[in-house]
Symmetry: C2
Subunit: 236 residues, 2 copies
DNA sequence: CCTTAATTGTGTAATTATGACGCAAAACTA
DNA sequence: TAGTTTTGCGTCATAATTACACAATTAAGG
């Protein structure tokens, strides 16, 4: 590759000005009732002490997806199976440090895998309906992530990344309701899920304060099939 | 805004190396039978003489959307109503000039608005099934654009941007078939379109080589409603 | 031990959407 | 006037969606 910069004593010199590139991750978790988002407390200026999305600057030897993974691991020690790119944010004044363009991703993780803030900064889950004031334009990014998630829920089997290996039908339904923001009829919901073939009953039950619910697992074969056919318009 | 660079005699100096940012546009057009893509012939190295997507480098006073619009106008004199961002491409070796990250958009334009190549380079429509060899990773970008278009066709009333004000039902159907790559039954297709409320018949007819077809327009009210509700999962 | 509260499992009927298909009508050609 | 092409309009069977009701299981309280 031809060198497109000149190394100087103080840094790197380019013929034309360049914006910096960052990645930011909206991490969704589910606590059984509400959708949550993982935020980190900023340890440095700007917005020191504010809550923000995990993310950081792109290095020269990585793609944006790799950058998002790396930053996420560094700041939250999370390593999600999959991340989904959903938008680029490039307003001129979105970062007080200068011109920064960010590529935004979302990912889904099980809430049981909680965080040990690897960096100095704290990391915490916040319910989506009750977020603290956020740094930069991160509120706007989260709003877009929600739209992307709603859109993708029907075409990708992402719901299962948020639940444990085994889950009850009411749990799954609450998840769908939390994401889509609307209510479903219990009976019709179960019927549709069963008909789609992505869940299989595992006959086991658990003991709770009321009638125990049957537990399900998702069907990895159907899971894979849907991932490949996600443009076929089949809803589930 | 705090300055994040140092102006030198030869250019702009940054503490850490930075990738350059470009935008690229996949412009779809419809000739009544096939889906087409607008390509420009590169006038300079690298890939001089090759066909490529219109696009170029981000300036410091514009957002990526504005960059895409500007480059598109400069290179093809097109000014589409709307562009849709669908992906970021950041492979390390995708551009021989160095590290370049591109933000990709697609847009839909009526084929009647043809091009006067404003720049030195030529600009031409190519049927999607018969593209020439392309510069950079532009083939991959086009493939992704097709997937995004297929996905969005059901949730956004984009089909109408590709057709004239008035269009016959067979024309609309051919467009859907060209995009989705599958066949529909004439009668069911019309039934569904009418039921969705986005088309209104305009009783007029035209004179052709066979039975004249009724002409339709799209319904701007439904159009607007759908744009707002595009996450509700209603298909059309 | 029986009742109540909470929650889950299961079934059925009405409505709506989808997919397959047939036939007649309008323009052009011969 | 007959043949060809292409369109308009309709019907029927099947599949998907929605609305709705009652019985079963556990824990808690008298």
């Amino acid at each position: 590759m031809k060198e497109d910069y000149k190394k100087t004593d103080d840094g790197y010199e380019y013929k034309y000005p360049r914006a910096a590139i960052t990645t930011d991750c909206v991490i969704f978790g589910f606590d059984g009732r509400y959708l949550n988002i993982l935020l980190v407390e900023r340890g440095i200026e700007p917005f020191k002490g504010s809550w923000a999305l995990p993310g950081g600057f792109l290095k020269m030897d990585e793609r944006v997806e790799e950058c998002a993974f790396r930053e996420l691991k560094e700041e939250t020690s999370l390593e999600p199976e999959q991340i989904e790119q959903f938008g680029v944010f490039s307003s001129l004044d979105r970062d007080p440090r200068g011109r920064v363009v960010t590529v935004a991703f979302y990912a889904l993780v099980k809430r049981t895998h909680v965080i040990g803030g690897d960096d100095a900064n704290d990391a915490r889950w916040f319910p989506i309906e009750d977020l603290p004031p956020l740094a930069f334009d991160h509120k706007e990014i989260i709003d877009e992530a929600m739209l992307a998630l709603k859109r993708d829920l029907h075409h990708q089997p992402i719901g299962f990344m948020l639940l444990d290996e085994q889950f009850s039908m009411p749990e799954l339904q609450r998840l769908y309701e939390a994401i889509l923001g609307r209510h479903f009829d219990r009976r019709n919901f179960q019927k549709k899920m069963m008909a789609s073939g992505i869940v299989t009953p595992t006959v086991y039950s658990e003991s709770t304060g009321h009638r125990p619910s049957k537990l399900f697992t998702f069907n990895p074969l159907e899971y894979k099939k849907m991932k490949e056919e996600n443009t076929n318009g089949k809803e589930f």
